[in-house]
């Protein structure tokens, strides 16, 4: 307070100016704007500006985005290859369904905590496996694990087999907010969780933990020589990936109120991998763009074109070709394109300044 009084007027103005910029430049600012934008879509849907199906598909894409964010810890940071995402997410979905169907009084957030606990256990066990098996071998072993979980979903008594599992009645808090089919409240929950997890991811990857994981990705031997514990960070990466996937599966279950084994096959794992690679595995925005392209294009945009709706195979071919082209020609993913564009604009602005005001000596 005293300081404010003492500082000259001009300085104070410039101080607030930088403060304002600091808020805009803060990474969370973008995430919150993104969340507000998502909620705006839902509100517009209430007023009939946006299609109901568009809003619903957007929520579904956001859920897949959560799984992709978790996967990016493995692919983009720890450099571990895993194809088990489908199994991890499916486990979350079925566990949620099981708990909600057997104990109708349990609020959803308790269920979510239970799902998290089981996912973390799974992550720890896979993390220990990853200490012994590496590279493509690890990918295949996690793929096998995911297939086994898929067999459990198909054959166990409580899952409903190929007919799938349904939930009806969700209680958010004890004796409060009973939701049956109110998609919009679920949409807000999904958005809130996505934004929170984006913040968590952003904090984690710019913290020493993220740096340690990057070091581990580039060379395990060098990382160990620097005193980074492989055990600790591999376990952490797998725990994060399985926990995010578990949350995504759980949200998928309550959002669609239905799940069946066909949703959790190898295709889902590969699609998550594709989403990370196409968008850019190291950037949160890249992953979201990738998820939008892989999971969102068909239900959000292509559905409205009659030719494509009638021949659904064209959409698959388009996304297949897109994946191949992006992987072959844009190494950093689509986000790299935007970054390159940003660099180009900055260079151009500097040239313009130079032309106007002359060169700085």
């Amino acid at each position: 307070m005293e300081k404010n009084v003492l500082t000259p007027n001009i300085l104070r103005v410039s101080g607030t100016e930088t403060n304002r910029l600091r808020i805009i430049r803060h990474p969370f600012f973008g995430f919150i704007i993104f969340g507000v934008g998502m909620i705006l879509v839902q509100i517009l849907q209430k007023f009939g500006v946006v299609n109901y199906s568009f809003a619903k598909a957007l929520g579904q894409t956001a859920i897949y985005g959560i799984a992709a964010l978790g996967f990016s810890f493995l692919l983009g940071y720890a450099g571990l290859s895993s194809l088990g995402t489908a199994g991890f997410a499916g486990l979350g979905a079925y566990l949620t369904g099981l708990i909600l169907n057997t104990y109708a009084q349990v609020p959803y957030f308790v269920t979510l905590i239970a799902v998290l606990a089981v996912s973390i256990l799974l992550g720890v066990s896979v993390g220990f496996i990853s200490l012994r098996i590496e590279g493509i071998f690890l990918a295949i072993v996690t793929l096998g694990l995911s297939e086994v979980l898929g067999q459990v979903f198909l054959n166990a008594e409580f899952t409903g087999g190929p007919n799938g599992m349904r939930t009806g009645y969700i209680r958010l808090l004890p004796n409060l907010l009973n939701i049956r089919t109110n998609i919009s409240i679920l949409f807000y929950i999904v958005t809130a969780i996505l934004v929170l997890l984006m913040m968590l991811t952003s904090n984690l990857i710019s913290s020493p933990t993220g740096r340690a994981m990057l070091a581990m990705k580039n060379s395990t031997s060098a990382a160990q020589a620097m005193g980074i514990s492989l055990l600790k960070y591999r376990l952490l990466a797998f725990i994060l990936a399985t926990a995010y996937a578990g949350i995504a599966g759980s949200l998928h279950m309550i959002y669609g109120q239905y799940t069946d084994p066909v949703q959790w096959t190898i295709m889902f794992s590969l699609n998550i991998l594709a989403a990370c690679l196409v968008g850019g595995a190291k950037s949160i925005w890249g992953i979201l763009i990738g998820t939008l392209i892989i999971f969102g294009l068909t239900p959000l945009f292509f559905q409205d074109i009659t030719l494509l709706r009638n021949n659904s195979w064209i959409m698959s071919v388009i996304s297949g070709v897109l994946i191949i082209l992006v992987v072959m020609f844009f190494k950093g993913g689509i986000i790299q394109l935007f970054k390159n564009l940003g660099v180009q604009i900055r260079i151009r602005n500097e040239k313009k300044k130079e032309y106007r005001f002359g060169k700085d000596e």
Binding site: R132, V141, L273, M315, V317, G320
Partner: protein, 294 residues
């Protein structure tokens, strides 16, 4: 005893099928250093051609299977020449992604190309529909003639392949490419031709495997086979061309013997067995640890 022997005999067809489907995965893994997720789809694609020729154009099955295999060979070569060859600089998961993109394209195109098959989903034809009964160690056993023919084809095919790998100039070139592509190129080996033909042969084997499954024909029919093929590679070890075949022999035996105890959980039991073996020997049963210089 009867059950034990009969289960072994019942596994023979799957052993043949898995070996033929997996050898392509191994060849591609060694030369292009990627797990080929499109492998099953390449097979299914040519199985659609075979079924189309045999069921709707009255061609004999052996001719249909030959033409299907040749089509798969050409497709394999074209995939390498058109796409995989140009993705050399892409990292490992990127190359996986390329094969996954191929898989998606195949999966989408097949039903659109063969509308008559997808609407009816017929069973694939067999070489022969009779059973051979015989007695061994005083037990009455039987084997389907189809399984026997598949096994003979697999054994002959794989023997020819291993002969080529071991004793011909092409095989030597392939082994050189597998161990180090750049050096092989410097030594004057036409690595482009080698990888192309490798993809072709992978397609050829998996095409024969897919066409002789005698399953009901749909686009996803090779999915499980492919996953067990990958597991067989890991189980046997990927450091030699022959080791995964050992995995291919073991996995159908695991599956069928555990199915004797519990048909529902056979997959789970076999997977746990496979996992235990891999955890004890992380490089596979016959694999060697690759030592890297830092």
């Amino acid at each position: 005893m009867q059950v034990f022997l009969q289960t072994f005999i019942n596994s023979l067809q799957n052993i043949a099928l898995y070996s033929m489907a997996t050898i392509g995965i191994v060849l591609i893994f060694r030369t292009s250093i990627t797990t080929n997720f499109a492998q099953g789809m390449m097979g299914t694609f040519s199985a659609f051609f075979t079924a189309n020729f045999v069921l709707y154009h009255g061609m004999p099955f052996w001719a249909g299977i030959t033409i299907g295999a040749l089509i798969a060979f050409c497709f394999g070569y074209l995939i390498d020449a058109g796409i995989i060859r140009h993705g050399r600089e892409v990292n490992a998961s990127g190359r996986q992604m390329i094969t996954m993109g191929l898989m998606m394209i195949f999966y989408a195109i097949m039903p659109a190309m063969f509308v008559s098959i997808t609407t009816r989903t017929p069973n694939l034809p067999k070489f022969s529909y009779t059973n051979l009964e015989f007695s061994f160690l005083g037990q009455e056993l039987y084997i389907t003639e189809h399984a026997l023919i598949c096994l003979v084809i697999a054994v002959i095919g794989l023997s020819i392949l291993f002969f080529l790998l071991k004793w011909t100039k092409w095989g030597m070139g392939l082994r050189a490419t597998a161990s180090n592509e750049v050096v092989a190129q410097m030594m004057g080996i036409n690595t482009k031709f080698i990888t192309g033909v490798t993809w072709g042969i992978a397609g050829l084997f998996v095409a024969v495997a897919a066409s002789s499954t005698a399953m009901s024909l749909n686009a996803g029919m090779m999915g499980t086979v492919q996953i067990y093929g990958f597991l067989a590679c890991v189980l046997g070890g990927l450091s030699s061309f022959g080791a995964p075949i050992a995995g291919c022999v073991l996995i159908p035996l695991f599956l069928n013997y555990s199915a004797v105890f519990s048909p529902k959980w056979a997959g789970l039991i076999s997977f746990i067995l496979i996992m235990l073996i891999i955890l004890v020997r992380p490089n596979g049963l016959f694999g060697k640890k690759l030592v890297k210089k830092v």
